[in-house]
Amino acid sequence: MLVIGGGIAGITAALELASCGVEVTMLEEGPSIGGRMIQLDKTFPTLDCSSCTLTPKMVEVALNPKIELLTLAMPIEVLRESRGFKVKIRKRPRYVDMSRCTACGLCSDACVMKGRIRHEFDCNLSKRPAIYIPFPQAVPQKYLIDGMGCLFISRGKCKKACVDVCGPNAIDFSQKEEILERYYDSIIVAPGFDLYDPTEKKELGYGTLEGVLTGLEFERLCSVTGPTGGEIKLNGKVPRRFYFIQCVGSRDRQTGARFCSRVCCMYTAKHANIIKDRIKDAQIYISYIDVRAYGKGYEEFYKNTQDAGTFYIRGIPGEVVQTKEGLLVRVEDMLSGEIREIDTDVVILATGVRPHKGTEELCNIMSLKKDEYGFIKVNATEPSRTNIEGIFVCGMASGPKDIADTVASAGEAVARCMEYLKE
């Protein structure tokens, strides 16, 4: 069995398959499994720490004898062979010998590029060296060299301080891209999602105004593994006034997305809760169209957020502008019918869900059908079945889902897979 994607959907699928006695190979295109969920500080509606619930599952994947984990790996060709598939996998070099690296971290400190390369895991809010581990709880616990950032690999010139400090001699610049050829009986695809890039919505000021962030960026600011160690700080200062805007890139024809992203209402309410917990005198506004608190305990969470003093304004702001003291949000409050101008320090955009950028390529090589937005097409009575026999999908790849729904969809995909194997 092949599972593509190492987020919570892929992790759940791999572990369930393994518990049913099936051998699994998991491909993750990044250096660590964990997906989007591991980037989160907390999860709604219980405010459970995301790492605390997910890291044990990641470790289970790494330790499970039935699961083979390949990171920095993606399929490049999938061909039907009898009932199964012949799969070509491209494995990018890590430039670090996994069997030797002890994750001591000396190489990162020594790297001349330290603090100079934008760190994707932190939504580019922090800088990292060229040899690094994406986050402290990464699985596998192994460092890697980013070929683009490394001076030696990209330009052939560097004093290679990392090599000097590495006790176990784990750094190996001679590693090359590998192509593996394997046969699998069935495939589960779980490539996950990306978030809408709100730069094109110029009126909201993302990318041009200081203090306008996306929800995921804010999540990293709150996270203890994030750029500020979990202190909500912008440019060294603790902001007091927050303005959240929901449905940015969801329910919005202009951005090509008519659909509801299903998670932004609740993650915004969660952010408001985190702020109230850490900044006692914070002033928080949330702009919304409809608050979609549909899951178990969500409505109560939304109510509690309101009761704790967060103001909900029905109406999406027309613009965000710079003032001397910070930012100003202009919004028509549809309930009072007034145009309001609200001063704030931070504007956080609850950006909607998009198919992960690799999804299109995956669909191409596997001939999977997509819906009008690029999510993998399924139907409601067989929620993980794709148009190709033997290939199943779970998680956000087939459309927005929260974590609980993603977990259930992963179980469903495993059920279909097991049935396919028995047929």
């Binding site: 518990s19 044990p56 709880q137 409809d290 899951g295 259930a408 028995k422």
Partner: protein
């Protein structure tokens, strides 16, 4: 004895309200404490590596992990300790997150409490003994309670995987609520057709045993060997099953408890379910005025339904669409608080229906006044901030999901828990959404909270996979916390025998003492509490362990 203490920061959770350095300082250098370590996430790979290497390096005899509650990650930490060569029952978890850092913000008090709790862990674990988990045979069979879409989905999977399945449905036929839907969104099929297709499929599988008009009357045993008695007109049938999936669904909300809506009093007020069943018989024609009310029996704290029912917005839109499709010139207005058309394709459906002329008004409806000419809706338009009265010919109430009627009974029989809204409680809302606290017992579909059809199918099949994963080997390991008898102390009074719910205690006539049948013992401890001569105790929970724990908790810091 060499004891290692491992303190987790849990990111912010513990570190921000407990003085980790203070804790370390207190325990470092105490007698028998070989090491005191801390790490941001003990559960992560480096955290686990730290514990493992410390066990090996210091030759630890006891491991104290001060972190989250034992309810989380226990198996993982046990495996870790086992891998490091230590008996896993010499591990002690101390909850300094739920019991200290989450209870208040006073760092001094939290730290002092954490010291007491860790100390209690040290004192009691000193009396721990290495124990072995027992391997028991498990039945590759499942009991599924509820023959709705979720239960049927689960049954089909398990049967195809080769397990014996007993599917119990209290109604005459399978299919639950879906069977009665005229138009299932988004597949736009008759519910009956979907159900009959699934029923036909189940009938082709000869290891599915379907019991309709039947109910569960008694339940006992333990994981892998649960005993269930099913009752129907034919009498009682006893089955032994490895696990159970509870999928008893929901009850449609009965709006008659809200008299201001006139439901049950005026025939012109109906529910979405009734609309679905008798759409073609309703007196709707071109020009008819129809109101659809959202959130009936949902988001309503006064009647004890504070939750969102998740499906009623789509049902309301579907109702409006059905009317507009048949009668273009009807006037259909939907009154909502928020439109929650979140499912895949739901938002598009909402927009397209608006384009067909379905009107949406954000409003609170206070009452329906029956008049000769029509039903007058009185309410407040919350966008305009204005009160209004409007007359309609028909009012459709988009009703929510209430907990299943048999919830209390099933919860009692299976010893599983209900949540505050009286749906079944899941083990973890995110990562274990269909597990219960009991091994091998799952809750699928709407009995754990409102869900649409797709989500119910996912739940049914996902829980079935999990159950299959637990049973497919034919054996499993169970905890060794069983009762044992000190023959010198036992007076043969047999009080424990009466107290034992698992019928695991047998009286030995010859020796005039009792014995414990370990395979049957559930480890509940009732015998322990009943014994007047302290002759029977639970392995791992000896009196000395508890006594020392209490004294450590009460001693001054």
């Amino acid at each position: 004895m060499r004891i290692g203490i491992f303190i987790c920061h849990c990111g912010h959770n513990i570190k921000s309200t407990v003085d980790i350095e203070g804790l370390k300082g207190y325990f470092k250098g105490l007698n028998n404490i070989a090491c005191v370590e801390d790490y941001p996430f003990m559960c992560s790979e480096p955290g686990q590596a730290l514990i493992k290497s410390s066990i090996e390096r210091f030759g630890l005899g006891r491991v104290i992990i001060a972190a989250c509650t034992k309810a989380l990650h226990q198996d993982m930490f046990k495996n870790l300790v086992r891998d490091a060569g230590l008996n896993p029952f010499l591990l002690r978890r101390v909850s300094i997150r739920e019991h200290c850092s989450w209870t208040g913000e006073d760092i001094e008090k939290n730290t002092s409490k954490a010291i007491r709790l860790i100390r209690a862990g040290i004192y009691s674990s000193a009396h721990y003994e290495p124990l072995e988990e027992k391997q028991v045979e498990v039945n590759k069979s499942a009991l599924i309670l509820g023959g709705g879409i979720s239960g049927m989905s689960a049954a089909a999977f398990l049967a195809r995987a080769g397990m014996e399945v007993y599917l119990v449905e209290k109604e005459k036929e399978l299919g639950g609520h879906v069977r009665h839907l005229e138009d299932v969104w988004p597949v736009r099929e008759r519910g009956k057709d979907i159900i009959e297709r699934m029923t036909e499929e189940l009938k082709t599988l000869n290891n599915v045993h379907i019991f309709t008009s039947s109910r569960l009357v008694s339940f006992g045993g333990s994981f892998g060997n649960y005993e269930a008695v099913i009752e129907n007109s034919g009498g009682e049938i006893k089955v032994i099953v490895g696990g159970v999936i509870v999928a008893i669904g929901f009850t449609a909300f009965d709006p008659s408890i809200k008299p201001e809506l006139q439901y049950g009093i005026d025939k012109r007020v109906i529910t979405t379910l009734e609309f679905e069943e008798k759409m073609h018989e309703l007196p709707i024609k071109e020009g008819s005025r129809v109101a659809i009310l959202h959130c009936i029996g949902s988001r309503d704290e006064i009647i004890g339904r504070p939750y969102c029912s998740r499906i009623c917005c789509i049902n309301a839109i579907k109702t409006g669409e059905a009317i507009k499709n048949r009668f273009k010139d009807s006037y259909v207005e939907s009154f909502y608080m928020d439109v929650r058309s979140h499912p895949r394709g739901g938002e598009e459906f909402y927009e397209d229906t608006q384009e067909k002329g379905l009107l949406f008004t954000r409003a609170n409806i206070s009452e329906i006044i029956p008049e000769q000419g029509g039903l007058v809706l009185r309410g407040e338009d919350t966008l305009l901030g204005m009160p209004f009265e409007r007359e309609f010919d028909l009012v459709v109430l988009s009703i929510g999901m209430s907990p299943p009627k048999d919830n209390q009974e099933i919860a009692g029989l299976l010893k599983i828990t209900l949540d505050k809204d009286r749906f079944f409680l899941e083990a973890h809302p995110k990562l274990r959404p269909y597990d219960t606290a009991l091994k091998g017992i799952f809750i699928a579909g709407t009995c754990s909270g409102p869900k649409d059809m797709e989500e119910s199918i996912n739940h049914g099949r996902a829980s079935a996979v999990k159950l299959y994963g637990l049973l497919n080997l034919g054996y499993a390991f169970i905890e060794p916390f069983v009762a044992y008898v000190d023959p010198k102390r036992c007076s043969g009074c047999r009080m424990c025998e009466q107290a034992c719910v698992a019928k695991a205690i047998k009286f030995d006539e010859g020796l005039h003492i009792v014995r414990v049948e370990e395979a049957a013992c559930m480890g509940c401890g009732l015998c322990n509490a009943t014994c007047p001569s302290s002759a029977i105790a639970l392995k791992g929970y000896k009196d000395t362990i508890i006594d020392d724990e209490i004294s450590a908790l009460t001693e001054a810091v």
